[in-house]
């Protein structure tokens, strides 16, 4: 009887992947050696984490009004920056898309400027806005707007460019101006995607907004970092729980909306 095994190896395997995996493993080992983390010291303190969580679980609702007002502030900053950036994003996305004005230099310039803005993390912008505008929601909104607008510009430009060339050509033939082509054909066709991007961004904006307080802007992040540094774990526990709940709610609502659109 022939007992030869059937080969189960897949022949069309990507040859690149094994090399990639080895490369990643080597880089990781080098990185870990370079970081020189004192693992023993860390491990000896791990039991303390349990202690901190135990303290955090003793929720202290006495500062509820402060927590609640700063949470409302944080959510409002996230929403406001999202809405302002939505408008700015459509404007700059229009300039950055290659098929709207057919002006390659303009779109390349806009694209590369926003690539730079996008590459710098949000808290840096907020810190700089704090310097210019002083404490308050203005710095938060303006700082978040920088990054969100840059993100929207790129993603909206991509959606605009996905419009079939025929649609635009058909309108061009009738002699429609470039702006009316944009507002009557390109924008309506990508509205669904814009809503999807906005939903995705709201999630990010909220969590970024929640951390802004930690670098010095107001809001719920300030309450968390302040009460953690003051060993007021009960208040911090409530605040962290609320941040989690709001983030979770946004995620669920967004999943619903996405399902509706598909």
């Amino acid at each position: 009887m022939n007992r030869e095994k059937i080969s189960v190896k897949c022949r069309q395997r990507n040859r690149f992947i094994p090399g990639f995996l080895i490369g990643v493993a080597v880089l990781t080992v080098i990185s870990l050696l370079y970081l020189k983390i004192d693992w023993l010291k860390m491990a000896s303190r791990v039991p303390d984490i349990g202690g901190v969580f135990w303290e955090l679980a003793h929720l202290d609702f006495s500062n509820m009004d402060l927590i609640f007002s700063s949470l409302v502030e944080t959510v409002s900053i996230a929403v406001l920056s999202l809405l302002y950036s939505l408008l700015l994003g459509i404007l700059f996305g229009m300039l950055a898309a290659k098929n709207v004005f057919k002006h390659p230099i303009l779109s390349a310039a806009v694209q590369s400027f926003f690539t730079f803005l996008r590459a710098v993390p949000t808290p840096v912008w907020v810190l700089l806005m704090l310097v210019c505008l002083g404490m308050g929601p203005e710095a938060g909104v303006a700082g978040l707007c920088v990054h969100t607008t840059a993100f929207f510009t790129k993603s909206f430009a991509q959606s605009f460019e996905d419009i079939p060339e025929e649609t635009i050509e058909a309108l061009e033939v009738t002699g429609t101006g470039r702006l009316s082509i944009f507002f009557n054909a390109v924008l309506p066709a990508s509205l669904g995607q814009i809503v999807a991007w906005a939903g995705m961004r709201l999630e990010t904006n909220f969590s970024e907004c929640a951390i802004l307080g930690m670098v010095g802007a107001g809001g719920i992040g300030y309450v968390i970092s302040n009460s953690l540094q003051g060993y007021d774990y009960g208040t911090a526990g409530v605040a962290i729980l609320l941040v989690f709940l709001v983030a979770y709610m946004i995620e669920r609502v967004f999943v619903r909306i996405k399902r509706k659109f598909n």
Partner: protein, 266 residues
């Protein structure tokens, strides 16, 4: 009499009108709640411009003896992101196997695993960093753990979704012929999902490069800490050159991961 032909379907139009009204209402409510007014930004335009032209431009280099320190802090940030993401990916792979009802040997636990990941994920990395600072002390190690937690949770979700998206026929047929759980993983899931997993891994590296800069700002070390100290000491022109450095770092990493992703998904 001319009757206009509606350009979009009526139900779509209603949906979009709803969104528009909701957006306007939200805008009004939030503006009232925060007292935010664009006009204050415009009124502050002069101060803004002055800040940019006088304090910010032109970018200045830090003192010559500080430059090696700045460069090594960039390396720390890169190393932090790289190692935390890889370690998290390995753990996330094994946990994700138990997070999908169709793959896991204990389908009842799948919901629990996913719920745990959702909990970890919805708390921002910086909040984790602060919680950990108060127990583990300040340093790169804490930055590593904070990044590890969020990217681990993110990848568990992404990996589970990748596994559910891929056709289940393979897993089912292997199960039907009596393949054990490790056999199903290595023969069905790994070959079909590996490139998807790696693509998510690369995305996570991109995110973590930014996140490790931010975690660095509050005490996790790396270029974030350097940048923060320059901003705090009002040396904005030096801060600008470090911001440019960060931007270059992020853009280069994005380019590299983009290239790698194309190769992997081929």
């Amino acid at each position: 009499m001319t009757k206009r032909i509606p350009l979009i379907a009526r139900d779509l139009k209603r949906l979009y009108t709803g969104f528009l009204i909701a957006a306007v209402l939200l805008f009004i409510v939030c503006s009232v709640l925060t007292n935010f007014n664009v006009m204050t930004l415009i009124a502050n335009g002069d101060a803004f411009w002055e800040f940019i032209t006088e304090d910010f431009l032109p970018p200045a280099l830090p003192k010559a003896d500080r430059i090696p320190g700045v460069l090594s802090s960039v390396l720390v940030t890169l190393a932090l992101a790289m190692s935390a993401t890889t370690v998290a990916a390995v753990f996330a792979f094994f946990v994700a196997l138990f997070g999908s009802e169709r793959v896991s040997p204990f389908p009842r636990l799948a919901k629990l695993v996913r719920g745990f990941a959702t909990f970890l994920r919805n708390i921002p990395a910086l909040v984790w960093a602060f919680i950990l600072f108060s127990s583990l002390g300040i340093g790169t190690g804490v930055g590593f753990v904070a990044l590890f937690i969020t990217s681990f949770a993110f990848m568990v979700r992404a990996f589970v979704e990748t596994m559910e998206d891929v056709s289940q026929d393979c897993v089912e047929s292997l199960q039907a012929v009596g393949a054990s759980f490790p056999q199903r993983v290595t023969q069905a899931i790994l070959p079909s999902c590996l490139s998807g997993f790696l693509s998510w891994f690369l995305y996570c590296v991109e995110v973590n490069i930014r996140a490790s800069t931010i975690v660095g700002m509050v005490g996790g070390g790396g270029v974030g800490l350097t940048l923060f100290s320059y901003i705090k000491s009002f040396q904005y022109d030096i801060a600008l050159s470090i911001i440019l450095l960060v931007a270059v770092m992020v853009i280069v990493v994005d380019r590299v991961t983009g290239k790698l992703r194309k190769e992997i998904l081929k």
